[in-house]
Protein backbone atom coordinates (compact mmCIF):
# COMPACT_ATOMS: atom_id res chain seq x y z
CA UNK A 1 0.00 0.00 0.00
CA UNK A 2 1.10 3.56 -0.55
CA UNK A 3 2.00 5.59 2.53
CA UNK A 4 -1.12 7.45 3.70
CA UNK A 5 0.12 10.86 2.54
CA UNK A 6 0.80 9.46 -0.92
CA UNK A 7 -2.49 7.57 -1.00
CA UNK A 8 -4.38 10.77 -0.23
CA UNK A 9 -2.47 12.60 -2.90
CA UNK A 10 -2.64 10.00 -5.58
CA UNK A 11 -6.41 9.72 -6.03
CA UNK A 12 -7.13 13.35 -6.85
CA UNK A 13 -3.93 13.45 -8.90
CA UNK A 14 -4.98 10.49 -11.01
CA UNK A 15 -8.43 11.99 -11.49
CA UNK A 16 -6.80 15.21 -12.70
CA UNK A 17 -4.43 13.37 -15.02
CA UNK A 18 -7.24 11.29 -16.41
CA UNK A 19 -9.41 14.38 -17.06
CA UNK A 20 -6.47 16.17 -18.63
CA UNK A 21 -5.73 13.19 -20.87
CA UNK A 22 -9.36 12.96 -21.97
CA UNK A 23 -9.62 16.65 -22.76
CA UNK A 24 -6.17 17.40 -24.15
CA UNK A 25 -4.42 14.31 -25.50
CA UNK A 26 -5.21 13.04 -28.98
CA UNK A 27 -2.98 9.98 -29.39
CA UNK A 28 -3.72 9.47 -33.08
CA UNK A 29 -2.86 13.08 -33.87
CA UNK A 30 0.37 12.81 -31.88
CA UNK A 31 1.26 9.60 -33.73
CA UNK A 32 0.54 11.19 -37.12
CA UNK A 33 2.43 14.40 -36.34
CA UNK A 34 5.28 12.52 -34.61
CA UNK A 35 5.25 15.23 -31.98
CA UNK A 36 3.47 16.16 -28.78
CA UNK A 37 1.80 19.58 -29.10
CA UNK A 38 3.37 22.29 -26.97
CA UNK A 39 0.04 22.93 -25.25
CA UNK A 40 -0.01 19.32 -23.96
CA UNK A 41 3.46 19.71 -22.46
CA UNK A 42 2.44 23.08 -21.01
CA UNK A 43 -0.70 21.50 -19.54
CA UNK A 44 1.38 18.77 -17.92
CA UNK A 45 3.60 21.47 -16.46
CA UNK A 46 0.56 23.32 -15.07
CA UNK A 47 -0.62 20.10 -13.43
CA UNK A 48 2.76 19.86 -11.72
CA UNK A 49 3.58 16.54 -13.37
CA UNK A 50 7.16 17.46 -14.24
CA UNK A 51 7.85 18.24 -10.59
CA UNK A 52 6.11 15.23 -9.12
CA UNK A 53 9.21 13.56 -7.64
CA UNK A 54 11.37 16.66 -7.34
CA UNK A 55 11.93 18.16 -3.87
CA UNK A 56 9.27 20.57 -2.60
CA UNK A 57 11.99 23.04 -1.70
CA UNK A 58 12.59 23.58 -5.41
CA UNK A 59 9.00 23.70 -6.55
CA UNK A 60 8.32 19.98 -6.89
CA UNK A 61 5.82 17.86 -4.97
CA UNK A 62 8.36 15.53 -3.36
CA UNK A 63 6.27 12.46 -4.18
CA UNK A 64 7.53 8.93 -3.99
CA UNK A 65 8.23 6.56 -6.87
CA UNK A 66 4.85 4.74 -6.56
CA UNK A 67 2.99 8.02 -7.02
CA UNK A 68 5.03 8.85 -10.10
CA UNK A 69 4.37 5.33 -11.40
CA UNK A 70 0.63 5.83 -10.97
CA UNK A 71 0.76 9.07 -12.95
CA UNK A 72 2.83 7.52 -15.74
CA UNK A 73 0.50 4.51 -15.95
CA UNK A 74 -2.49 6.82 -16.15
CA UNK A 75 -0.91 8.82 -18.97
CA UNK A 76 0.08 5.64 -20.81
CA UNK A 77 -3.59 4.70 -20.98
CA UNK A 78 -4.10 7.78 -23.13
CA UNK A 79 -0.80 7.99 -24.97
CA UNK A 80 2.51 6.18 -24.54
CA UNK A 81 4.62 8.96 -26.07
CA UNK A 82 3.37 11.43 -23.49
CA UNK A 83 3.91 8.86 -20.72
CA UNK A 84 7.47 8.15 -21.86
CA UNK A 85 8.27 11.86 -22.07
CA UNK A 86 7.22 12.31 -18.46
CA UNK A 87 8.61 8.98 -17.24
CA UNK A 88 12.01 9.73 -18.68
CA UNK A 89 12.03 13.19 -17.13
CA UNK A 90 11.08 11.88 -13.67
CA UNK A 91 13.26 8.78 -13.88
CA UNK A 92 16.50 8.73 -15.83
CA UNK A 93 16.34 12.47 -16.49
CA UNK A 94 16.22 13.85 -12.95
CA UNK A 95 16.77 10.95 -10.53
CA UNK A 96 20.54 11.32 -10.61
CA UNK A 97 20.37 15.07 -10.08
CA UNK A 98 17.95 14.77 -7.16
CA UNK A 99 19.90 11.99 -5.44
CA UNK A 100 23.47 13.03 -6.17
CA UNK A 101 23.42 16.70 -7.10
CA UNK A 102 25.14 19.40 -5.08
CA UNK A 103 23.21 22.27 -3.52
CA UNK A 104 24.40 24.56 -6.32
CA UNK A 105 23.29 22.07 -9.00
CA UNK A 106 19.90 21.74 -7.33
CA UNK A 107 19.44 25.49 -7.17
CA UNK A 108 20.48 25.93 -10.77
CA UNK A 109 18.36 23.23 -12.36
CA UNK A 110 15.57 21.89 -10.18
CA UNK A 111 13.17 24.88 -10.22
CA UNK A 112 12.82 24.94 -14.02
CA UNK A 113 12.78 21.13 -14.19
CA UNK A 114 9.95 21.06 -11.64
CA UNK A 115 7.86 23.56 -13.57
CA UNK A 116 8.39 21.75 -16.85
CA UNK A 117 10.03 24.80 -18.40
CA UNK A 118 13.09 22.61 -18.74
CA UNK A 119 12.70 18.96 -19.69
CA UNK A 120 15.34 16.40 -18.78
CA UNK A 121 17.03 13.72 -20.88
CA UNK A 122 19.59 11.05 -20.19
CA UNK A 123 22.18 9.63 -22.54
CA UNK A 124 24.33 6.56 -22.19
CA UNK A 125 23.84 4.76 -25.52
CA UNK A 126 26.43 5.32 -28.24
CA UNK A 127 26.96 3.81 -31.67
CA UNK A 128 29.44 1.33 -30.17
CA UNK A 129 27.97 1.01 -26.67
CA UNK A 130 24.41 -0.23 -26.30
CA UNK A 131 23.94 -3.20 -24.01
CA UNK A 132 27.64 -3.05 -23.13
CA UNK A 133 27.84 0.12 -21.10
CA UNK A 134 31.48 -0.48 -20.24
CA UNK A 135 32.35 0.32 -23.87
CA UNK A 136 31.55 4.05 -23.74
CA UNK A 137 33.75 6.01 -26.14
CA UNK A 138 32.50 9.51 -25.34
CA UNK A 139 35.25 10.94 -23.21
CA UNK A 140 35.70 13.87 -20.90
CA UNK A 141 39.39 14.60 -20.41
CA UNK A 142 40.71 16.93 -17.75
CA UNK A 143 43.03 19.49 -19.35
CA UNK A 144 43.81 21.15 -16.03
CA UNK A 145 41.26 23.94 -16.36
CA UNK A 146 38.12 22.17 -17.59
CA UNK A 147 36.72 18.89 -18.85
CA UNK A 148 36.92 18.55 -22.61
CA UNK A 149 34.16 16.33 -23.96
CA UNK A 150 34.13 14.62 -27.35
CA UNK A 151 31.83 11.89 -28.59
CA UNK A 152 28.42 10.90 -29.76
CA UNK A 153 25.23 9.71 -28.11
CA UNK A 154 22.32 8.11 -29.91
CA UNK A 155 18.64 7.39 -29.29
CA UNK A 156 18.24 10.01 -26.58
CA UNK A 157 14.63 10.16 -25.42
CA UNK A 158 13.49 13.79 -24.99
CA UNK A 159 16.65 14.70 -26.94
CA UNK A 160 14.90 17.34 -29.05
CA UNK A 161 12.91 18.84 -26.15
CA UNK A 162 15.40 18.80 -23.33
CA UNK A 163 17.11 21.70 -21.67
CA UNK A 164 19.28 19.46 -19.49
CA UNK A 165 21.01 16.19 -20.37
CA UNK A 166 22.68 13.80 -17.94
CA UNK A 167 25.43 12.03 -19.85
CA UNK A 168 27.38 8.94 -18.87
CA UNK A 169 30.88 9.32 -20.27
CA UNK A 170 34.26 7.74 -19.88
CA UNK A 171 36.55 9.89 -17.69
CA UNK A 172 39.96 8.22 -17.57
CA UNK A 173 41.91 9.43 -14.56
CA UNK A 174 39.16 11.63 -13.13
CA UNK A 175 38.61 11.19 -9.40
CA UNK A 176 41.56 8.80 -9.29
CA UNK A 177 39.76 6.16 -11.39
CA UNK A 178 41.98 5.08 -14.24
CA UNK A 179 39.14 3.79 -16.41
CA UNK A 180 36.17 5.26 -14.60
CA UNK A 181 32.96 6.68 -15.93
CA UNK A 182 31.27 9.83 -14.69
CA UNK A 183 27.93 11.53 -15.09
CA UNK A 184 27.97 15.03 -16.56
CA UNK A 185 25.26 17.67 -16.69
CA UNK A 186 25.04 19.24 -20.13
CA UNK A 187 22.89 22.27 -20.87
CA UNK A 188 21.11 22.74 -24.16
CA UNK A 189 23.00 25.98 -24.83
CA UNK A 190 26.47 24.61 -24.11
CA UNK A 191 28.95 25.35 -26.90
CA UNK A 192 30.01 22.14 -28.62
CA UNK A 193 26.66 20.36 -28.26
CA UNK A 194 24.70 19.56 -31.39
CA UNK A 195 21.26 17.96 -31.15
CA UNK A 196 20.75 15.74 -34.19
CA UNK A 197 17.56 15.29 -36.22
CA UNK A 198 14.57 13.35 -34.87
CA UNK A 199 14.56 9.61 -35.57
CA UNK A 200 11.61 8.06 -37.44
CA UNK A 201 10.38 5.17 -35.34
CA UNK A 202 8.08 2.16 -35.39
CA UNK A 203 6.16 3.47 -32.41
CA UNK A 204 6.27 6.07 -29.67
CA UNK A 205 6.35 8.48 -32.55
CA UNK A 206 5.41 11.50 -30.48
CA UNK A 207 8.31 10.90 -28.11
CA UNK A 208 11.42 12.81 -29.16
CA UNK A 209 14.43 10.60 -29.95
CA UNK A 210 17.63 12.21 -31.21
CA UNK A 211 21.37 11.79 -31.25
CA UNK A 212 23.78 14.22 -29.61
CA UNK A 213 27.19 15.21 -30.93
CA UNK A 214 29.73 16.61 -28.54
CA UNK A 215 32.71 18.31 -30.05
CA UNK A 216 35.49 19.92 -28.07
CA UNK A 217 32.93 20.86 -25.44
CA UNK A 218 34.57 22.55 -22.45
CA UNK A 219 32.76 22.00 -19.19
CA UNK A 220 33.54 23.39 -15.74
CA UNK A 221 34.19 20.72 -13.07
CA UNK A 222 30.94 21.81 -11.40
CA UNK A 223 29.10 19.88 -14.12
CA UNK A 224 30.17 16.50 -12.77
CA UNK A 225 27.15 14.88 -11.15
CA UNK A 226 27.97 12.75 -8.11
CA UNK A 227 31.35 11.21 -7.52
CA UNK A 228 33.91 11.78 -10.29
CA UNK A 229 34.80 8.36 -11.67
CA UNK A 230 31.88 6.75 -9.82
CA UNK A 231 29.39 6.99 -12.67
CA UNK A 232 29.05 3.25 -13.25
CA UNK A 233 27.74 2.70 -9.73
CA UNK A 234 25.40 5.70 -9.89
CA UNK A 235 24.00 4.42 -13.18
CA UNK A 236 22.57 1.34 -11.45
CA UNK A 237 20.53 3.46 -9.05
CA UNK A 238 19.29 5.78 -11.80
CA UNK A 239 18.42 2.96 -14.21
CA UNK A 240 16.42 1.14 -11.54
CA UNK A 241 14.12 4.17 -11.21
CA UNK A 242 13.85 4.54 -14.94
CA UNK A 243 13.01 0.89 -15.47
CA UNK A 244 10.30 1.00 -12.83
CA UNK A 245 8.62 4.05 -14.33
CA UNK A 246 8.80 2.46 -17.75
CA UNK A 247 7.20 -0.68 -16.33
CA UNK A 248 4.36 1.44 -14.96
CA UNK A 249 3.74 2.73 -18.47
CA UNK A 250 3.46 -0.88 -19.66
CA UNK A 251 0.81 -1.49 -16.99
CA UNK A 252 -1.27 1.46 -18.18
CA UNK A 253 -1.09 0.33 -21.81
CA UNK A 254 -1.99 -3.28 -21.00
CA UNK A 255 -4.89 -2.27 -18.77
CA UNK A 256 -6.50 -0.05 -21.38
CA UNK A 257 -6.03 -2.69 -24.10
CA UNK A 258 -7.69 -5.22 -21.84
CA UNK A 259 -10.61 -2.90 -21.05
CA UNK A 260 -11.19 -2.29 -24.74
CA UNK A 261 -11.16 -6.03 -25.34
CA UNK A 262 -13.57 -6.79 -22.52
CA UNK A 263 -16.00 -4.31 -24.09
CA UNK A 264 -15.44 -5.70 -27.57
CA UNK A 265 -15.89 -9.39 -26.79
CA UNK A 266 -19.00 -8.62 -24.77
CA UNK A 267 -20.56 -6.75 -27.66
CA UNK A 268 -19.35 -8.49 -30.80
CA UNK A 269 -21.60 -11.44 -31.78
CA UNK A 270 -20.54 -14.40 -33.90
CA UNK A 271 -22.07 -17.86 -34.12
CA UNK A 272 -25.24 -16.41 -32.64
CA UNK A 273 -23.63 -15.30 -29.40
CA UNK A 274 -21.18 -12.76 -28.01
CA UNK A 275 -17.49 -13.67 -28.45
CA UNK A 276 -17.36 -13.55 -24.65
CA UNK A 277 -19.54 -16.65 -24.54
CA UNK A 278 -17.02 -18.74 -26.51
CA UNK A 279 -14.98 -21.06 -24.33
CA UNK A 280 -11.68 -20.50 -26.11
CA UNK A 281 -12.15 -16.74 -26.00
CA UNK A 282 -12.95 -16.93 -22.29
CA UNK A 283 -9.73 -18.78 -21.57
CA UNK A 284 -7.72 -16.26 -23.56
CA UNK A 285 -9.40 -13.41 -21.72
CA UNK A 286 -8.65 -15.05 -18.37
CA UNK A 287 -4.97 -15.32 -19.26
CA UNK A 288 -4.77 -11.69 -20.41
CA UNK A 289 -6.57 -10.56 -17.26
CA UNK A 290 -4.17 -12.55 -15.09
CA UNK A 291 -1.18 -11.00 -16.86
CA UNK A 292 -2.48 -7.46 -16.40
CA UNK A 293 -3.13 -8.16 -12.73
CA UNK A 294 0.32 -9.65 -12.16
CA UNK A 295 2.18 -6.83 -13.88
CA UNK A 296 0.38 -4.23 -11.81
CA UNK A 297 1.00 -6.18 -8.61
CA UNK A 298 4.70 -6.56 -9.38
CA UNK A 299 5.36 -3.02 -10.55
CA UNK A 300 3.43 -1.52 -7.65
CA UNK A 301 5.32 -3.62 -5.14
CA UNK A 302 8.72 -3.05 -6.72
CA UNK A 303 8.18 0.72 -6.87
CA UNK A 304 8.00 0.73 -3.07
CA UNK A 305 11.30 -1.09 -2.56
CA UNK A 306 14.34 0.46 -0.91
CA UNK A 307 17.03 1.64 -3.33
CA UNK A 308 19.05 -1.52 -2.76
CA UNK A 309 16.33 -4.06 -3.49
CA UNK A 310 14.94 -1.91 -6.29
CA UNK A 311 18.22 -2.48 -8.11
CA UNK A 312 17.50 -6.18 -8.67
CA UNK A 313 13.72 -6.41 -8.45
CA UNK A 314 13.24 -3.63 -11.01
CA UNK A 315 14.88 -5.98 -13.52
CA UNK A 316 12.12 -8.52 -12.95
CA UNK A 317 9.45 -5.82 -13.16
CA UNK A 318 10.88 -4.42 -16.39
CA UNK A 319 11.13 -7.73 -18.21
CA UNK A 320 7.82 -9.11 -16.97
CA UNK A 321 5.83 -5.95 -17.62
CA UNK A 322 7.28 -5.33 -21.08
CA UNK A 323 6.72 -8.94 -22.16
CA UNK A 324 3.25 -8.92 -20.68
CA UNK A 325 2.30 -5.59 -22.26
CA UNK A 326 3.30 -6.99 -25.64
CA UNK A 327 1.33 -10.16 -24.99
CA UNK A 328 -1.77 -8.38 -23.73
CA UNK A 329 -1.88 -5.85 -26.57
CA UNK A 330 -1.22 -8.60 -29.12
CA UNK A 331 -3.97 -10.71 -27.53
CA UNK A 332 -6.29 -7.72 -27.59
CA UNK A 333 -5.69 -7.27 -31.31
CA UNK A 334 -6.33 -10.97 -31.92
CA UNK A 335 -9.64 -10.86 -30.09
CA UNK A 336 -10.67 -7.74 -31.98
CA UNK A 337 -10.15 -9.67 -35.21
CA UNK A 338 -9.65 -7.54 -38.32
CA UNK A 339 -10.81 -4.50 -36.38
CA UNK A 340 -7.71 -4.78 -34.21
CA UNK A 341 -5.51 -4.29 -37.26
CA UNK A 342 -7.22 -1.05 -38.23
CA UNK A 343 -5.43 2.04 -36.95
CA UNK A 344 -8.64 3.82 -35.88
CA UNK A 345 -9.17 1.17 -33.20
CA UNK A 346 -6.03 2.40 -31.44
CA UNK A 347 -4.58 -1.03 -30.69
CA UNK A 348 -2.24 -1.11 -33.68
CA UNK A 349 -0.54 2.05 -32.48
CA UNK A 350 -0.36 0.60 -28.99
CA UNK A 351 1.38 -2.51 -30.28
CA UNK A 352 3.89 -0.34 -32.13
CA UNK A 353 4.38 1.77 -29.00
CA UNK A 354 4.97 -1.07 -26.56
CA UNK A 355 7.39 -2.97 -28.78
CA UNK A 356 10.36 -0.86 -27.70
CA UNK A 357 9.80 -1.60 -24.01
CA UNK A 358 11.45 -5.01 -24.45
CA UNK A 359 14.54 -3.26 -25.83
CA UNK A 360 15.10 0.10 -24.20
CA UNK A 361 16.17 0.64 -20.61
CA UNK A 362 18.19 -2.55 -21.17
CA UNK A 363 17.32 -5.31 -23.64
CA UNK A 364 15.31 -7.97 -21.83
CA UNK A 365 17.72 -10.80 -22.58
CA UNK A 366 20.57 -8.81 -21.11
CA UNK A 367 18.57 -7.93 -18.01
CA UNK A 368 17.53 -11.54 -17.48
CA UNK A 369 21.18 -12.56 -17.28
CA UNK A 370 21.76 -9.78 -14.74
CA UNK A 371 18.75 -11.00 -12.78
CA UNK A 372 20.13 -14.54 -12.81
CA UNK A 373 23.53 -13.32 -11.62
CA UNK A 374 21.85 -11.24 -8.91
CA UNK A 375 19.94 -14.32 -7.72
CA UNK A 376 23.20 -16.24 -7.30
CA UNK A 377 24.60 -13.42 -5.18
CA UNK A 378 21.42 -12.90 -3.16
CA UNK A 379 22.07 -12.99 0.57
CA UNK A 380 18.56 -12.88 2.04
CA UNK A 381 16.16 -15.80 2.06
CA UNK A 382 12.59 -15.51 0.80
CA UNK A 383 9.82 -15.67 3.39
CA UNK A 384 7.31 -18.41 2.53
CA UNK A 385 3.84 -17.09 1.75
CA UNK A 386 1.70 -20.03 2.78
CA UNK A 387 2.73 -20.25 6.42
CA UNK A 388 0.54 -17.35 7.54
CA UNK A 389 -2.61 -18.55 5.79
CA UNK A 390 -5.41 -20.91 6.70
CA UNK A 391 -6.89 -23.35 4.22
CA UNK A 392 -8.79 -22.18 1.17
CA UNK A 393 -8.09 -20.90 -2.32
CA UNK A 394 -5.73 -18.24 -1.07
CA UNK A 395 -3.66 -20.70 0.97
CA UNK A 396 -3.52 -22.98 -2.00
CA UNK A 397 -2.33 -20.15 -4.31
CA UNK A 398 0.30 -19.26 -1.71
CA UNK A 399 1.43 -22.88 -1.51
CA UNK A 400 1.79 -22.98 -5.28
CA UNK A 401 3.85 -19.80 -5.15
CA UNK A 402 6.06 -21.38 -2.48
CA UNK A 403 6.45 -24.45 -4.67
CA UNK A 404 7.46 -22.24 -7.59
CA UNK A 405 10.02 -20.48 -5.38
CA UNK A 406 11.37 -23.88 -4.34
CA UNK A 407 11.78 -24.79 -8.03
CA UNK A 408 13.76 -21.60 -8.59
CA UNK A 409 15.87 -22.23 -5.53
CA UNK A 410 16.59 -25.75 -6.60
CA UNK A 411 17.71 -24.48 -10.01
CA UNK A 412 20.00 -21.95 -8.31
CA UNK A 413 21.48 -24.57 -6.01
CA UNK A 414 22.02 -27.11 -8.76
CA UNK A 415 23.78 -24.53 -10.93
CA UNK A 416 26.02 -23.55 -8.05
CA UNK A 417 26.82 -27.14 -7.21
CA UNK A 418 27.59 -27.90 -10.83
CA UNK A 419 29.59 -24.84 -11.86
CA UNK A 420 30.58 -23.17 -8.56
CA UNK A 421 31.78 -19.63 -9.35
CA UNK A 422 32.13 -20.70 -12.98
CA UNK A 423 28.37 -20.23 -13.24
CA UNK A 424 29.04 -16.60 -14.18
CA UNK A 425 30.50 -17.84 -17.45
CA UNK A 426 27.33 -19.77 -18.28
CA UNK A 427 25.23 -17.07 -19.96
CA UNK A 428 22.49 -19.42 -21.06
CA UNK A 429 22.03 -20.69 -17.52
CA UNK A 430 22.16 -17.19 -16.02
CA UNK A 431 19.49 -16.19 -18.50
CA UNK A 432 17.33 -19.18 -17.59
CA UNK A 433 17.75 -18.57 -13.89
CA UNK A 434 16.84 -14.92 -14.53
CA UNK A 435 13.59 -15.96 -16.21
CA UNK A 436 12.79 -18.29 -13.36
CA UNK A 437 13.37 -15.44 -10.88
CA UNK A 438 11.22 -13.11 -12.92
CA UNK A 439 8.34 -15.57 -12.59
CA UNK A 440 8.86 -15.99 -8.86
CA UNK A 441 8.86 -12.23 -8.32
CA UNK A 442 5.72 -11.76 -10.43
CA UNK A 443 3.84 -14.56 -8.72
CA UNK A 444 4.92 -13.60 -5.20
CA UNK A 445 3.82 -10.00 -5.71
CA UNK A 446 0.51 -11.20 -7.17
CA UNK A 447 -0.18 -13.52 -4.25
CA UNK A 448 0.57 -10.75 -1.78
CA UNK A 449 -1.79 -8.43 -3.62
CA UNK A 450 -4.49 -11.10 -3.70
CA UNK A 451 -4.01 -11.68 0.03
CA UNK A 452 -4.57 -7.96 0.62
CA UNK A 453 -7.64 -7.74 -1.57
CA UNK A 454 -9.11 -11.15 -0.72
CA UNK A 455 -10.91 -11.04 -4.08
CA UNK A 456 -11.71 -14.48 -5.43
CA UNK A 457 -11.21 -13.44 -9.06
CA UNK A 458 -7.72 -12.17 -8.27
CA UNK A 459 -6.87 -15.32 -6.34
CA UNK A 460 -7.96 -17.34 -9.38
CA UNK A 461 -5.91 -15.14 -11.69
CA UNK A 462 -2.81 -15.80 -9.61
CA UNK A 463 -3.54 -19.53 -9.58
CA UNK A 464 -3.87 -19.59 -13.37
CA UNK A 465 -0.64 -17.69 -13.90
CA UNK A 466 1.24 -19.77 -11.33
CA UNK A 467 0.37 -22.91 -13.31
CA UNK A 468 1.92 -21.32 -16.39
CA UNK A 469 4.96 -20.20 -14.40
CA UNK A 470 5.58 -23.62 -12.88
CA UNK A 471 5.49 -25.32 -16.28
CA UNK A 472 7.89 -22.77 -17.76
CA UNK A 473 10.28 -22.89 -14.82
CA UNK A 474 10.33 -26.68 -14.93
CA UNK A 475 11.24 -26.49 -18.63
CA UNK A 476 13.91 -23.87 -17.91
CA UNK A 477 15.51 -26.12 -15.32
CA UNK A 478 15.80 -29.05 -17.69
CA UNK A 479 19.00 -29.33 -19.71
CA UNK A 480 18.92 -26.59 -22.35
CA UNK A 481 19.22 -27.48 -25.98
CA UNK A 482 22.81 -28.60 -26.14
CA UNK A 483 25.29 -26.04 -27.38
CA UNK A 484 26.37 -28.48 -30.10
CA UNK A 485 22.81 -28.67 -31.41
CA UNK A 486 22.58 -24.88 -31.56
CA UNK A 487 25.85 -24.74 -33.48
CA UNK A 488 24.73 -27.45 -35.89
CA UNK A 489 21.55 -25.50 -36.62
CA UNK A 490 23.58 -22.41 -37.45
CA UNK A 491 26.43 -24.14 -39.26
CA UNK A 492 25.35 -22.82 -42.67
CA UNK A 493 23.54 -19.61 -41.87
CA UNK A 494 25.62 -18.20 -39.02
CA UNK A 495 28.87 -19.99 -38.24
CA UNK A 496 30.30 -18.93 -34.89
CA UNK A 497 32.39 -15.80 -35.60
CA UNK A 498 35.99 -15.51 -34.43
CA UNK A 499 36.00 -13.59 -31.16
CA UNK A 500 38.95 -11.36 -30.36
CA UNK A 501 40.41 -12.29 -26.96
Amino acid sequence: MLPRADEELVRPLLAQVSRFALESIDARAIDRASAIPQRVLAGMGELGLFGLTLPEEFGGSGCSLPVACSAVAELARADRSVAVTLGLHLGLGTRGLVALGTRAQHERYLPTLASGNCIAAFATTEPGAGSDLSALQTRALDDGTALVVNGQKIYVTNGGLAGLYTLAVSTPGLGGSARGQSLLLIERGDAGLRVEAEEHKLGLRGSSTTGLSLEEMRLPYSRVLGEAGGGARALGMILSWGRTLMSAGCCGAARVALEKTVAHVAERRQFGKPLAALEVVREQMARLTARAFAMEALVDEVSRESAETLLVRSLAAKVFSSESAWMVVDGAIQLHGGLGFIEDTGLAMMLRDVRITRIFEGANDVLLSHLGAGELLRATARTPLASSLVEGALASAAKDADALAAQVDSLRQSLHARFRVGVFRQPRWLHRLGRACMWREAIDASVRRAIRSGRTDEIAQVALLTQEARVEVAALASEPSARELVEQCLAQALPLPEVRA
Binding site: L133, S134, S170, G175, G176, S177, A178, R179, G180, Q181, G229, G230, A232, R233, S369, H370, A373, L376, L377, H416, R420, V421, G422, V423, F424, R425, A501
Partner: protein
Protein backbone atom coordinates in the same frame (compact mmCIF):
# COMPACT_ATOMS: atom_id res chain seq x y z
CA UNK B 1 45.03 -18.58 -24.93
CA UNK B 2 45.68 -19.83 -21.40
CA UNK B 3 47.90 -18.26 -18.77
CA UNK B 4 51.38 -19.80 -18.53
CA UNK B 5 50.97 -22.48 -15.85
CA UNK B 6 54.57 -22.04 -14.66
CA UNK B 7 54.17 -18.31 -14.01
CA UNK B 8 53.58 -16.88 -10.53
CA UNK B 9 50.02 -16.60 -9.24
CA UNK B 10 50.24 -12.83 -9.46
CA UNK B 11 51.18 -12.81 -13.11
CA UNK B 12 48.62 -15.49 -14.00
CA UNK B 13 45.86 -13.40 -12.38
CA UNK B 14 47.08 -10.28 -14.16
CA UNK B 15 47.23 -12.16 -17.46
CA UNK B 16 43.63 -13.33 -17.09
CA UNK B 17 42.51 -9.79 -16.30
CA UNK B 18 44.30 -8.53 -19.40
CA UNK B 19 42.20 -10.97 -21.45
CA UNK B 20 39.04 -9.24 -20.26
CA UNK B 21 39.94 -5.55 -20.38
CA UNK B 22 41.92 -3.54 -22.92
CA UNK B 23 44.76 -2.86 -20.48
CA UNK B 24 48.29 -4.24 -20.90
CA UNK B 25 49.42 -6.69 -18.17
CA UNK B 26 52.32 -4.43 -17.16
CA UNK B 27 49.88 -1.60 -16.46
CA UNK B 28 47.71 -3.65 -14.11
CA UNK B 29 48.50 -3.00 -10.45
CA UNK B 30 47.45 -4.80 -7.27
CA UNK B 31 45.68 -1.71 -5.94
CA UNK B 32 43.58 -1.30 -9.08
CA UNK B 33 39.85 -1.55 -8.50
CA UNK B 34 38.16 -3.87 -10.98
CA UNK B 35 35.40 -1.40 -11.77
CA UNK B 36 36.73 2.10 -11.43
CA UNK B 37 40.31 1.47 -12.55
CA UNK B 38 39.93 -1.36 -15.01
CA UNK B 39 36.52 -0.44 -16.38
CA UNK B 40 34.89 -3.78 -15.60
CA UNK B 41 31.19 -3.94 -14.89
CA UNK B 42 29.52 -6.28 -12.41
CA UNK B 43 29.14 -8.97 -15.07
CA UNK B 44 32.72 -8.89 -16.33
CA UNK B 45 34.14 -8.89 -12.81
CA UNK B 46 32.12 -12.04 -12.03
CA UNK B 47 33.39 -13.51 -15.28
CA UNK B 48 36.95 -12.77 -14.22
CA UNK B 49 36.54 -14.72 -10.99
CA UNK B 50 34.93 -17.53 -12.97
CA UNK B 51 37.84 -17.65 -15.39
CA UNK B 52 40.31 -17.56 -12.56
CA UNK B 53 38.72 -20.56 -10.85
CA UNK B 54 38.69 -22.42 -14.14
CA UNK B 55 42.29 -21.56 -15.13
CA UNK B 56 43.74 -22.42 -11.75
CA UNK B 57 41.34 -25.28 -11.17
CA UNK B 58 40.06 -23.86 -7.89
CA UNK B 59 36.88 -24.85 -6.08
CA UNK B 60 35.59 -21.31 -5.45
CA UNK B 61 31.95 -20.82 -4.49
CA UNK B 62 29.76 -17.80 -5.19
CA UNK B 63 29.77 -17.04 -1.46
CA UNK B 64 33.56 -16.62 -1.51
CA UNK B 65 33.71 -13.70 -3.91
CA UNK B 66 31.50 -11.10 -2.27
CA UNK B 67 34.37 -8.88 -1.12
CA UNK B 68 36.66 -9.17 -4.12
CA UNK B 69 36.82 -5.73 -5.71
CA UNK B 70 40.51 -5.18 -6.49
CA UNK B 71 43.30 -6.93 -8.35
CA UNK B 72 45.08 -7.51 -5.03
CA UNK B 73 41.99 -9.14 -3.51
CA UNK B 74 41.67 -11.34 -6.61
CA UNK B 75 45.28 -12.49 -6.21
CA UNK B 76 44.70 -13.11 -2.50
CA UNK B 77 41.61 -15.18 -3.30
CA UNK B 78 43.60 -17.26 -5.78
CA UNK B 79 46.38 -17.82 -3.25
CA UNK B 80 43.98 -18.83 -0.48
CA UNK B 81 42.27 -21.40 -2.67
CA UNK B 82 45.53 -22.70 -4.11
CA UNK B 83 46.75 -23.23 -0.54
CA UNK B 84 43.50 -25.03 0.33
CA UNK B 85 43.95 -27.22 -2.72
CA UNK B 86 47.51 -28.03 -1.75
CA UNK B 87 46.60 -28.79 1.87
Amino acid sequence: MRADPTATVDSRVVYIISQLVPVKPEQILAEHRLREDLGMDSVSSMELLSMLAEELDLDVGVEDIADVHTVGATIALAKTFLAKKGA
